[in-house]
């Protein structure tokens, strides 16, 4: 289907040109017309219909563009691992590294590319703790709950985080600002209890340190003094 350039004269007829690109304006205009006439004149509805068709076509192209980008992405990953047996987990790692989680449309595309049933892919994703199906928050707080940290008070840290953010293990704040994760062991048992905040590890923490760290994550420059030195 070819896209017909819209007749410019039609646009100048109407005082408010913006309606062609703005759904809210279009809706207001239609409501005004309805109020004035009691109905929407068919010349207008025809015109709007034409414009909508053009816009839909444009959106469809954008959608195809996105889809093909996802497909190309997945294809590159698949091509890299094609020759290897048992490549599914490695491909999922690559996808998660790129997106921060495994988006559904990517998983679907992967299923087509690998000729593996979508259920098989989800079977693997849901089995392993490492793979996520939800996008991560803007700031990530990872509390270590390895045995050493557990004995030294990781539970207290978590409770304190819940007090501040209102979310617990595996949850994201409604504004998507913070995501709280609990992991088995980050291997820093020498500095327990520890947590990783946006990639920076804080060690030998007390519940009272939590508020300062969270505040610092929100406004990195504002509160450097609140950061607890790991060697304290």
């Amino acid at each position: 289907m070819t896209q017909r350039p819209h007749d410019p004269s039609a646009a100048t007829e109407h005082p408010r040109e913006s309606w062609k690109n703005d759904e809210a304006a279009l809706l207001t205009m239609l409501e005004e017309l309805e109020k004035r006439h009691g109905y929407i004149p068919h010349q207008i509805s025809d015109e709007v219909g034409r414009v909508l068709e053009v816009r839909l076509e444009r959106l469809r192209r954008i959608q195809t563009k996105l889809e093909s980008s996802v497909r190309r992405d997945v294809q590159t990953q698949v091509a890299r691992w094609k020759a290897e047996e048992g490549n599914l987990i490695m491909i999922l790692h690559a996808i998660q590294n790129q997106h921060g989680y495994v988006p559904r449309e990517v998983a679907m595309e992967l299923s087509r590319e690998l000729s593996v049933k979508l259920a098989r892919i989800y079977e693997v994703i849901t089995f392993y703790h490492y793979f996520k199906l939800q996008p991560p928050g803007k700031h990530n707080v990872t509390v270590c709950n390895g045995t050493a940290c557990y004995l030294k008070g990781a539970g207290g840290l978590l409770a304190e985080i819940r007090n501040h953010l209102g979310v617990g293990e595996g949850q994201t704040t409604p504004d998507r600002e913070f995501h709280v994760e609990v992991v088995r062991c980050i291997g820093c048992c020498g500095m327990s209890p520890a947590m990783v905040c946006d990639g920076k590890t804080h060690g030998r923490l007390k519940p009272t340190d939590v508020s300062g760290i969270l505040a610092q994550m929100k406004t990195p420059a504002a509160a450097p003094a609140a950061a607890k030195e790991v060697h304290a």
Binding site: E84, E85, G86, N87, L88, I89, M90, L92, H93, E123, V124, F127, Y128, H129, Y130, F131, N145, G146, T147, A148, Y150, L151, K152, G153, G156, A159, E160, N163, H164, V183, R184, C185, I186, G187, C188, C189, G190, M191, S192, A194, V196, T201, G203, K206, P207, T208, E229, V230, H231
Partner: protein
């Protein structure tokens, strides 16, 4: 790099590092988390101004995690010195003092674990540390020594330094003379003048004070950790006799001879189960097939264990060399490293090691010019504890859910893609090159009957110095916890040591003199495990610990078989009830019954060993369970539902710190704690300057 041939490797013998002076910065995950990367940058900047010839080298971790970031310096006119807690802020000052001023910084020196027997040259530094409780006298003795040296006119020749750690614990004031590392313990005030007069001036050793016990540690697996640059093959080749063992195996030995050497060494699997390594290789070798696989199990899932991470990050080439030798012995041409994705640094370093080995012709076709071909690849784990179990691990490498399958057939018969597969732990592989270089008999000379060689432990929890420890088998738990790691924090009583992670058991105080070996630990109801060792003190509730481990196994259960899926859940419900003080006396026999069912009927090791922590705690600490069940009290004051937090009005100075710090507003304006609101987070207890707030049994209310 061009391909290496056996002839290239022959002339390479251990020789001093090319730069005569260096600063080594220990960059492993723990060190980096403590800021070692910034320390490295600061040191590089400082060296440029100070002494451009000084090489600043990144190395792996020596194992002393409690002192991260750790830096080692060798420079003219100074003994080699290990510094701990070298934050980026103090790094330039420390370097300037050491290199230019020939002075060490107080409270940062990690003393050498070598113990000298005689004073050879002039003493330049004297380390002092009070290792007794409280560590109160260090500064006093430092002052006394300085005064005495001043009196003798030696004050500008000998510097007296407060040490951070000296490797000896609970032996009063310890003094070490550098260079030479002559170490005196239980030094009293009158000895100060004697030491200065006889040892420093006359260079005679005071036999009554001399510490003669050698360090209990023997470093075989960790021999290169903290010494070589883990990212440079050339460093491994030049400094660590790298790939010499592989050359020996390929050129001088048949695969059968390699296996025979392993048999002599008595090496058993270091992943925990302790299956003899030579037997595993032999079983895989005798299978008739076109393809065999070798897998390195680096899915270190035990919480609180970081031995494998440390070895992979600090010395990846040793593990790779061990794997290539194993492949040669069993006749495999393909190997996989299965590494946790949670260890990105380890993954990156192994990847680099494989890359470098491939470029040098140590991997690929015709290795070292022989007709042996082998290649290795990395597969990432994805956070499933059960994948440490070999059949589950194989399923995961195949790209499937990590569900275990029943054994037999064992992987050595039907493993990866149905082919015979030998799966060995990181630490097992790290032992192999050492065994081939120095002989199986040498290796077997360490350790005890049945358990030969050394074992690396990650000692953490309520211990003074959380660190990696490598000791010969047969060392007692008490030696590891007290002599090497400095005992329990804050001088509290030790209650138990947990070994073997979630599949292991709890060893009570009374059994700490047991020598560590596969069989002895099993008799105590625990297992060797991969080497996590967690120290618990009197404030840890045993019920709570059992609950923690069981919860871990319940989370990790794959759900395939009923005993593990249902049994684990039911037990965790019961334990939860007990820790809330709602248990009944019937619960304990029920727990025992479920444990037995899980042990006998579960499909894989995870389910069979999941009840171990419960059984072991029931065996040694049944009283504590009974306290919870009958008296509804927790002696350790740990189980939140059974304790209250109380404020002693007589001690209180009304400073309001508790009110300010309470996250839930449970402390009222007239300093009464509302226990209904309180979440038992300990914030107020920690901030109270007068220690007026404490936990108390709930029944007192």
């Amino acid at each position: 790099m061009k391909s290496l041939t056996p002839a290239d490797l022959l002339p390479i013998t251990p020789q001093p590092v090319p730069p005569a002076e260096w600063v080594r910065v220990q960059l492993d995950t723990g060190g980096i988390a403590a800021g070692a990367e910034s320390t490295l940058e600061e040191l590089r900047a400082a060296v440029r101004e100070l002494r451009p010839g000084l090489a600043v080298l990144p190395v792996g971790s020596h194992g002393r995690s409690f002192a991260d970031p750790v830096v080692e310096i060798r420079s003219r006119g100074m003994p080699d010195t290990l510094y701990g807690r070298v934050t980026p802020e103090i790094a330039p000052e420390l370097l300037t003092a050491h290199v230019r001023g020939h002075r060490m910084l107080d409270d940062h020196v990690l003393a050498s674990t070598e113990r000298g027997r005689e004073v050879n040259g002039p003493v330049s530094h004297l380390l002092v540390l009070d290792t007794g409780a409280g560590e109160g006298k260090t500064a006093f003795f430092q002052f006394s020594f300085i005064e005495e040296l001043k009196r003798r006119g030696l004050a500008d020749q000998v510097q007296v330094v407060r040490a951070l750690d000296i490797g000896i614990h609970d032996e009063g004031v310890v003094v070490q003379l550098l260079p030479g590392a002559v170490t005196y313990t239980n030094v009293l005030a009158p000895d100060v003048a004697r030491i200065v007069e006889e040892s420093i001036i006359q260079r005679r050793v005071l036999d009554d004070l001399l510490w003669k016990q050698p360090d209990p540690q023997v470093r075989i697996v960790l021999r290169n950790c903290g010494v070589i640059d883990p990212e440079e093959l050339s460093d491994y080749l030049a400094q660590a006799q790298g790939y010499q063992a592989l050359r020996r195996a390929l050129v001088e030995m048949t695969p059968e001879q390699v296996i025979a050497e392993m048999k002599v060494s008595g090496l058993r699997g270091r992943g925990g189960a302790g299956f003899p390594t030579w037997k595993k290789w032999d079983l895989t070798r005798v299978q008739k097939t076109d393809q065999r696989y070798v897998i390195c199990n680096a899915d270190e899932g035990d919480p609180g264990a970081f031995m494998d991470r440390s070895v992979l990050e600090s010395d990846p080439h040793t593990v790779l060399e061990g794997m290539i030798i194993a492949a040669y012995a069993i006749g495999s041409s393909m190997g996989y490293f299965y590494i946790r994705a949670e260890y990105p640094k380890a993954v990156a370093r192994v990847e680099r090691a494989i890359q470098q080995a491939r470029e040098a012709g140590l991997l690929g076709k015709n290795i070292l010019g022989t007709d042996f071909c082998f290649d290795a690849k990395i597969r990432l784990g994805a956070g499933a504890f059960v994948c440490g179990e070999e059949t589950a691990l194989i399923a995961s490498i195949e790209g499937k859910r990590g569900s275990p399958s029943p054994r037999p057939p064992y992987p050595s018969v039907r493993g990866l893609w149905g082919k015979p597969t030998s799966i060995n732990n990181v630490e097992t592989f790290a032992n192999v090159p050492a065994i081939l270089l120095r002989g199986g008999a040498w290796y077997a000379s360490h350790g005890v009957e049945g358990s030969r060689g050394t074992k690396v432990f990650a000692v953490t929890g309520k211990v003074n110095h959380a660190q990696l420890v490598e000791v010969p088998m047969g060392t007692t738990l008490r030696q590891i916890v007290f002599d090497v790691c400095g005992g329990v924090q804050d001088g509290r009583e030790i209650k138990a040591v947990q070994t073997g992670g979630p599949s292991g058991g709890v060893i009570p105080d009374s059994q700490l003199d047991t020598p560590v070996a596969y069989e002895t630990l099993q008799q105590l109801g625990s297992i060797m495990g991969s080497g996590g060792m967690i120290v618990m003190d009197a404030t840890d509730s045993i019920v709570d610990v059992a609950k923690f481990y069981l919860k871990f196994c319940v989370d990790e259960s794959c759900g395939k078989c009923a005993p593990c899926r249902i049994g684990g859940y039911q037990m965790s419900q019961i334990l939860d009830r007990i820790s809330r003080g709602r248990g009944t006396p019937d619960d304990i026999p029920t727990l025992r019954r479920i444990c037995l069912a899980m042990q006998k009927a579960s499909l894989c090791g995870l389910g069979q060993t999941a009840p171990n922590p419960v059984l072991a705690t029931l065996r040694y600490f049944e009283n504590e369970y009974l306290d919870h069940v009958k008296d509804h009290s927790c002696k350790a004051l740990e189980c939140s539902a059974l304790v209250s937090v109380k404020l002693d009005q007589a001690k209180c100075i009304k400073c309001k710190l508790c009110i300010k710090n309470c996250p839930v507003g449970a402390v009222s304006a007239d300093f009464v704690i509302d226990n209904a609101k309180c979440t038992r987070c300990n914030s107020c207890i920690e901030v109270c300057p007068k220690k007026a707030i404490a936990r108390a049994p709930k029944s007192e209310e």
